[in-house]
Symmetry: C2
Subunit: 340 residues, 2 copies
């Protein structure tokens, strides 16, 4: 059933006011603030109807109304007026990115910092391990007799955190030869393609199968590793919001938020083409507490998904602000990432 225009308007005001004040909204305050042309009794009738429809709830009979998860959903999809950032805020975004945006790690850190700062919610960033990008080059740097650092250059970045063990007796010349062979073999392929290469089918190994196997092994471990790519910022900002006045709630929230695994799951989305993804209440994600919302966005470069960033906070979240910040950050990110 479609809501009447007036019901929509009233629901919007209720959500607006509740987000702003965190206090259950009464019929009187609605008429005073937004609806001076109708009486509070009329508003009460409408509120009653909206409650019947499942959009509003009451804590007790004589309290004002609070939006339900359904109401927030409708609010975000239909009712909410899009917010614009101030010039100051836009400048802040640019400033931070100017200071630190040399590589993907820094971009993510800057992103989370900006988002958390501007929205005053904890923010999360997740670097995709595999964005489907193509490998350009691979290089070994031997720093001990039996160990070498693997450096991989891709379209967008430099991977330099993988190590392989070098077979005993292998000379430096052989290793640099292996480097050339593998570089040739890998170049132009993406990670998935490389990991699916069957060593037994390749006859251009020139005797470097052992190195190949080690590299693939290291890559697989790297791609699977779950921790370490989640960045959080401003966890303590959650304390500023009145719904977290209770130690148990804080504890519960922080225990979830500091668990990198759970955050990974939450952010690793079936990345459809949606630009901004809003999860309100549990929504079937049992990783987060039922009274939380998560708003995320993805950054992509030429169709490759480089990562996810977003905000986690109470269901009574300032969606206008959050969406505006994410959108603007997204725009700046796009220009930064496509610059290279």
């Amino acid at each position: 059933m479609e809501l009447s225009d007036r019901k929509k308007k009233i629901l919007q005001f209720v959500v607006d006011d509740y987000i702003e004040t965190a206090v259950p909204v009464s019929s009187k305050s609605l008429t005073e603030r937004h609806l001076s042309n109708i009486s509070s009794a009329t508003v009460r009738n409408e509120l009653f109807a909206l409650e019947e429809l499942g959009y509003l709830t009451q804590l007790h009979t004589s309290s004002g109304r609070v939006p339900s998860a359904e109401a927030y959903k409708l609010y975000v999809s239909d009712l909410m007026v899009k917010d614009k950032l101030s010039v100051k805020e836009l400048d802040y975004i640019k400033k931070i990115f100017l200071e630190k945006a040399d590589n993907l790690e820094e971009v993510i850190k800057s992103t989370t910092k900006i988002i958390s700062e501007l929205t005053s919610y904890p923010s999360v960033g997740l670097k995709s391990k595999d964005s489907g990008e193509k490998i350009e080059n691979i290089k070994f740097f031997r720093f001990k007799k039996d160990q070498a650092l693997v450096i991989i250059v891709t379209e967008y970045r430099l991977l330099k955190d993988n190590y392989i063990s070098v077979p005993e007796g292998m000379t430096d010349e052989q290793l640099s030869d292996a480097e050339k062979v593998l570089s040739n073999m890998f170049s132009g392929k993406n990670f998935e393609e490389i990991c699916n290469l069957k060593p037994e089918l390749q006859d251009d190994f020139m005797g470097y199968k052992n190195i190949f196997v080690n590299v693939i092994e290291a890559l697989k471990v790297y791609l699977q590793a779950s921790e370490g790519d989640v960045v959080m910022e401003g966890e303590d900002k959650i304390l500023q919001h009145p719904e977290y006045a209770d130690i148990n709630k804080i504890q519960n929230f922080l225990s979830v938020v500091t668990s990198k695994d759970k955050m990974m799951n939450l952010l690793t989305e079936d990345g459809k083409d949606i630009k901004i993804n809003v999860k309100i209440g549990t929504d079937g994600y049992d990783e987060i507490p039922a009274d939380c919302s998560v708003v995320t966005a993805t950054y992509t470069a030429n169709g490759n998904k480089l990562g996810t960033y977003g905000v986690i906070g109470p269901i009574r979240m300032d969606y206008q602000k959050v969406v505006a910040v994410l959108e603007n950050v997204g725009k700046v990110l796009e220009s930064i990432l496509s610059k290279r």
Copy 2:
């Protein structure tokens, strides 16, 4: 004035009990738990004397006694009985270090994780940028026309986070030649010595002065950079302690603890030979709230200070446990770090 043996004993019991229960300690509970041979009235007289001496305070006339900062200091230096870890705890330490201790970053992360887990306080780790170690080797990896990654091998670790810009028109051969020249020049020196090299006095540059200057510049930036080397773990553990039942206190604590600058200052010690460093209350360190304590230790390998690790928590901290954990972690660390 030296305390009588009985006063010391009583003060020890008061601190023990207060650390355990977080409840002001009464004369009655002392006689019941520890001093069945004397009466509570006698204990009261002693408590009164200890209060006069500044070791104990009362919240109000009819409450039990709480140790003062002075009392904690005496407790740690003189009164406290050293704790031993259980086999389970020792195994846990070994297990974590076995899993992750390949490089200094991982060692620090593992350290903070272990400490926070075993003590249930937030823990901090700080990697020294310059431990006085000697450089063995330097290598360039060019990944763009005008940019190269600088890899530096030292006695203890591999630095691979510095980049230099490569002068226009420099060929790969010239770059690898420069690599040899600089490697020769740097090898056996420590960072300080290298940064003090005067380019105008070196005549073995063979024309690579520009690269030299770039490398030194990058190194100086790296050595000065303040953030990024502080690792924290278990910030949320602070919520488990009853003194942080108040949101404002939590907020205050977290705002300090999440400020990497402040943590840096706190951990960057005039590293004397003290193995374990205990700061109780402010102690003149205005970085931390007055009701906090910080216990730290340094890890060194062959006289080089590789970093600092420790615990930050309420002044009513379980010093026995914390000191025991830090000491044991220290022992394992020593064996790990000197293995290489």
